[in-house]
């Protein structure tokens, strides 16, 4: 046996090696193409944001900036109330991610741990409600909020967004809670602990990392949301950065051409928070995002 394999290795060493090298090269080539396609828009937005405006419109377009400027960022912050929109975005995204995770946790605990008739039906109600298109419910929602005097209310915006991401969060969380061993909770109940004490002192310490990850994921989803703020945030006290960006894009006072310099700068500032979250928490985010699909 030993001699046969020795013989083979001496017989065709270069053939196998070449095949291996070619295979490696092909992998790296494909990865390079993939990275180019994924990163191209980011590169283009980023260099546009630091290129002086008069150099942005050169023919042929310049792939590498010759001069670097922060003028576009300053002009952008003058064109819209940037700090105001930024804090609106943060309040909206943090508020709705925290509220959605709290509500989903309570509901998921009931669905995962308490045995009652129809718990499957309630779970299906949550999951299937993802399919109801957000856009189809906007008109009645607008009427409802208008009648209640809640258009432009931060609470209403947070409530709507929290509701939108709750089904997905419940879907991820129920199977997760089900796989946490129940013995400690049962022991606490036997010791006479009430439900809220069990939740607060026993369950939450165990699931805290999971809740934190869901807060991060839901923050990203809410940070990226356009439709609810576009319809229900009409004053500068509630408008988010995504609304600011699309208003720049469709603003007729900007003339025929879109203000690419301002939009690039604004886009970069909108990418930075989610980019940081991705860089720090990518393992957790990927693990939890793919959890629902891969059982």
């Amino acid at each position: 046996m030993q001699t046969t394999s020795e013989a083979q290795r001496t017989y065709r060493p270069s053939g196998i090696r070449w095949q291996f090298v070619l295979d490696r090269a092909l992998t790296y080539l494909l990865v390079a193409i993939f990275l180019f396609v994924v990163l191209l828009p980011f590169y283009w937005i980023f260099i546009s944001s630091i290129t002086p405006k008069f150099q942005m419109f050169s023919i042929p377009p310049r792939y590498f900036p010759r001069e670097v400027t922060f003028e576009n960022y300053l002009n952008m912050a003058r064109a819209i109330p940037y700090v105001g929109y930024l804090s609106n975005s943060l309040i909206f995204a943090i508020g709705s991610s925290v509220v959605s995770v709290i509500l989903s946790f309570l509901a998921s605990y009931a669905l995962a741990r308490i045995h009652f008739r129809g718990s499957n039906v309630v779970f299906m109600f949550f999951v299937l409600s993802i399919a109801v298109p957000q856009i189809g419910t906007l008109v009645p929602l607008f009427e409802m909020l208008k009648n209640a005097g809640l258009v432009n209310s931060r609470f209403a915006l947070i409530g709507l967004m929290a509701s939108l991401i709750t089904p997905f969060t419940v879907w991820i969380m129920v199977p997760f809670i089900q796989q946490v061993p129940a013995e400690i909770e049962e022991a606490a109940v036997i010791d006479g602990a009430r439900l809220h004490q069990v939740l607060w002192h026993v369950v939450i310490p165990i699931v805290r990392p999971a809740l934190a990850t869901m807060v991060i994921i839901n923050f990203i989803i809410a940070w990226n949301e356009l439709l609810y703020p576009l319809v229900f945030a009409t004053s500068r006290l509630t408008k988010t950065l995504s609304v600011g960006l699309v208003e720049m894009a469709v603003d007729p006072s900007m003339g025929a051409g879109r203000p690419w310099d301002l939009m690039s700068a604004l886009s970069v500032t909108m990418i930075i928070p989610v980019l940081l979250l991705v860089l720090f928490f990518q393992r957790l985010i990927i693990a939890w995002l793919t959890r629902g699909a891969v059982k």
Partner: protein
């Protein structure tokens, strides 16, 4: 005690379920009522007009072309996202240096706002100053005003949508592939299977269940997509890239035709229902075959 258990479950479910009922179920039902009226908040007295909105819908060219493009957009996006998603996943599943960095980068398109992607691509597609137009012009000699042509605008928005969601699907499929024991691939390689044979006989069958689930999910989810079209083309040129969700938004918050927009909303619900039903049938078949 039984009633205590039910009370606890009820109290825990109440906040989430109550919010969902109020913001989804109630508007869903209210849409049916509003679709039978001519309600316009600028001209208040709302009047019952029966199925007049529906007859108007049938003759509305904007709506019929929106439905056509919605189907083209959703079906072609989903198929391309699945195909590229599987291809990228099997690429990321092979051995190479810097794999974890590439994996992190793969998450970025999912994490950024759709509006930012739409703006970035519009700028890349710009006829004179955009990099994509320039690269295409250098290679083919033809300079294309992507977003101004009927077919090119459709290609451009679908390509952007595929760019945005393919990496997410790739990560889902990659997670599925990482559950596959490495010995399986080793064995295939020892048996002399090449890259394509391994893909066809190991990778593809193993992620078929996930691919079907995700395809179903993407299909239904993208039927209601709005952000990309709104930011990139505004449905133009003409009605070339108008999708149903965008038409509803225009009718409701551009024209304040709340009654008419609600009728269009019902069409969207119906489309989602039909697509969901068809996709479920397909899902069943794949499950049995697999």
């Amino acid at each position: 005690m039984v009633w205590q258990r039910y009370l606890a479950a009820f109290l825990l479910l109440l906040p989430a379920a109550g919010l969902r009922l109020l913001t989804t179920l109630y508007p869903f039902i209210e849409t049916f009522r509003l679709s039978l009226t001519n309600y316009n908040p600028a001209f208040p007295p709302e009047k019952y007009i029966g199925l007049a909105n529906m007859t108007r819908l049938v003759h509305d060219i904007g709506v019929s072309s929106s439905i056509t493009f919605t189907i083209i957009y959703v079906v072609s996006s989903t198929l391309l996202q699945l195909a590229f998603g599987i291809a990228v996943a099997s690429l990321l599943n092979s051995q190479f240096r810097g794999r974890s960095v590439v994996r992190a980068i793969t998450l970025i398109p999912w994490a950024i706002p759709m509006v930012v992607a739409a703006i970035g691509f519009s700028w890349l597609y710009d006829r004179d100053y955009g990099m994509i137009s320039d690269l295409v012009a250098r290679v083919t000699g033809v300079r294309i005003a992507w977003l101004s042509g009927f077919a090119t605008a459709r290609i451009a928005v679908i390509a952007t949508n595929v760019w945005k969601s393919t990496p997410f699907l790739a990560l889902v499929f990659l997670a599925a592939l990482q559950g596959v024991p490495a010995e399986l691939y080793e064995a295939a390689r020892v048996d002399g299977a090449n890259r394509f044979q391994t893909f066809g006989s190991i990778t593809l069958p193993l992620i078929l269940p996930q691919a079907t689930t995700m395809g179903l999910f993407m299909l239904i989810w993208q039927l209601a997509s709005f952000d990309l079209i709104y930011t990139m083309t505004g449905g133009g040129p003409g009605f070339a890239t108008s999708v149903l969700a965008y038409s509803i938004y225009r009718a409701a918050f551009g024209g304040l035709n709340f009654g008419y927009a609600s009728a269009m909303g019902l069409i969207l619900f119906a489309v989602v229902l039909v697509a969901g039903g068809l996709a479920l049938l397909l899902y069943r078949r794949v499950e049995v075959n697999y």
